[in-house]
Symmetry: C3
Subunit: 259 residues, 3 copies
């Protein structure tokens, strides 16, 4: 049997036993599954942040990886439980837009509602579907249960609304999508949005032209570069741009041609 990787992403933190309970359930069903944490420190109930982080990690996992993601403000409500199959991976979690960003780059996908009562816990808690519904579904897929056995097809997955960057009169306008642990501001601007010799601004603060890497500026200096996610980032070399500029997720970013 080939190794199957199951990743986990939640907003459960690591202080409680919730993530461990999910892992126990998975290993009970599929002892060979290789478990890898993406992160459990998504800000509580923040589906948008979760979608971003999952899209940062998923492309680097081997083909056939199962991504189990549970950031689920609607647990116990009528929101559907879904699994989504792409050419490269399977995604398992609540139907609330969590997978939007991953699916945006997938050439094709098909989805099912997780509805088969034989592929879940005998008793499903109304507050912890991660353990009783999603972990069993992921584990059954990992041990080879066909995707279509989970339940009926779903066509209309929920998507999170995400304002795309705008280019007008040679000026690209976007926003900060994520602030990482170093205080780097990851924006939604990609190199193809930028005018030639673009100069960057964040909330009116002048940053300057793109550099290639941190080491191109002096210690503690602000800079803009194309980060490891392929998006423009605003950084301070060996420091925190978020702290320096006092800005966070949603801050406006503009790229103008050199004056």
């Amino acid at each position: 049997m080939p190794v199957v990787v199951v990743t986990l992403l939640t907003d459960f933190g690591t202080r409680d036993a919730y993530v461990a309970a999910m892992k126990g359930v998975i290993l009970g069903i599929c002892p060979e599954a290789r478990l890898v944490d993406v992160t459990h420190e998504v800000p509580p109930q923040n589906v948008r942040a979760a979608a971003f982080l999952l899209a940062q990690a998923a492309p680097y996992f081997p083909r056939g990886t199962i991504h189990l993601a549970v950031v689920d403000p609607g647990v116990g409500s009528a929101r559907r439980a879904v699994a989504v199959l792409t050419e490269r991976a399977v995604f398992v979690g609540p139907d609330n837009g969590l997978f939007s960003l991953c699916l945006r780059n997938a050439p094709a996908w098909r989805a099912v509602e997780i509805a088969n009562p034989r592929l879940r816990a005998a008793q499903v808690s109304s507050t912890f579907h991660g353990r009783d519904l999603f972990a069993p579904a992921a584990a059954h897929l990992a041990r080879g249960v066909p995707f279509s056995e989970l339940g009926p097809p779903v066509q209309d997955l929920v998507e999170i609304a995400l304002q795309a960057p705008e280019v007008r009169g040679g000026v690209a306008s976007g926003q900060v999508l994520h602030v990482d642990v170093f205080g780097n501001l990851v924006t939604d601007l990609a190199p193809e949005h930028l005018p030639t010799s673009a100069h960057l601004e964040v909330e009116g603060h002048h940053i300057g032209a793109l550099v290639r890497t941190y080491a191109d500026v002096s210690e503690g200096a602000l800079c803009a570069l194309v980060g490891s996610s392929g998006l423009v980032e605003i950084s301070v070399r060996n420091g925190s741009a978020a702290e320096r500029l006092g800005v966070g997720v949603g801050a406006s970013v503009r790229a103008k041609p050199r004056a």
Copy 2:
């Protein structure tokens, strides 16, 4: 050889290299062991919190799992090192009550003192039995060493005193056992303790009747429900009950019949 899962629960945090050293020791003895963290963020030396968290996770792991738990305020003292075998699992750690809650639901168990010098590090540090004594014991069990080889039987395991909920005159009185990362207050009241149409109170704050799930109340409202651990929890939908009420572990909880 079947996959054997070894879980780890400590108060060592994840900033230091202590947990990694334990994992290195285990993999040196039993390279096939599947390591799963329960949590390493137990409040320092808090055996009671550790016992609670272990009891939340352990039931979800496959039969034969070895649970290694080290919250050990008495390390280096005369407190015993023990292993406890139940029908479902093995527990390895200091004899200070850590396993009390897990054993409460076990139909039977037997325990040994970890005393066999061939099943531990050549040199045992006086401050880190997790690495030199408990990790080797767990790893030797994982690779198939018979339980009884660890050392002589122990009958009188230390138990943590835990006040049981009280039901008097139709009113159930209990306490908050745990505050989770979302601020949910997990109490020691189970559904069978509650009067019909119970109304819940925490430290005098009126909460109301049990609901089925968060989605039954409006965003930001307080509610009481039977949580994923089978115990009554006080929650705020997509918010923190601990913060809202300003209470923590030990807070009094009462369930009265509807007036």
Copy 3:
């Protein structure tokens, strides 16, 4: 194929998807690799702290373990990417002194520059060599690629300057190397530095003679002992010495003969 352990140590934290991306890359190249986190909470860009933590963990891992460590303030600059082979392990990361402390105790080692373009990502980001350069190198080694295929030999690895403890007139002077999560102060003094019946002082605070373990002093008392790393530590029994004394890394420690 024997199990190969790959450990990971970074300053990336666990809130972002950076560590997960590295793990995905490794499992894509070597699905059998056993991944173990040392820590991802090294203070940002603190090579010295990283070197200390790696040296605390590495000796406990099985022979042949690959230690992947990425604390890399010079990413994108001319600093070299290296792999270092010792009798027990392989170390992979930036050439900035990260492995200094591990190599100090190695009887011999040889190093190569990671330069082979076939053993890295097709596109190497200028800011995330952990994912695009170091993780692939570690994974290729884990699946059996010969060490020498990574690139040309390196003789002059960067070392971090570390002032050795000084013994003069029977008095040993050293410093605090690390403060652990419990607030224990791990010093650079080893038992062989100490005068007979040594009395310890930290920044002028009198601590007293070495005890064997925490349990030799009363709850809340300060003490000095030889900790689990074989170095003198200053501790408070079930409390924090760092808090009590208000000192941190770099604080001066002296051991004098009893007056």
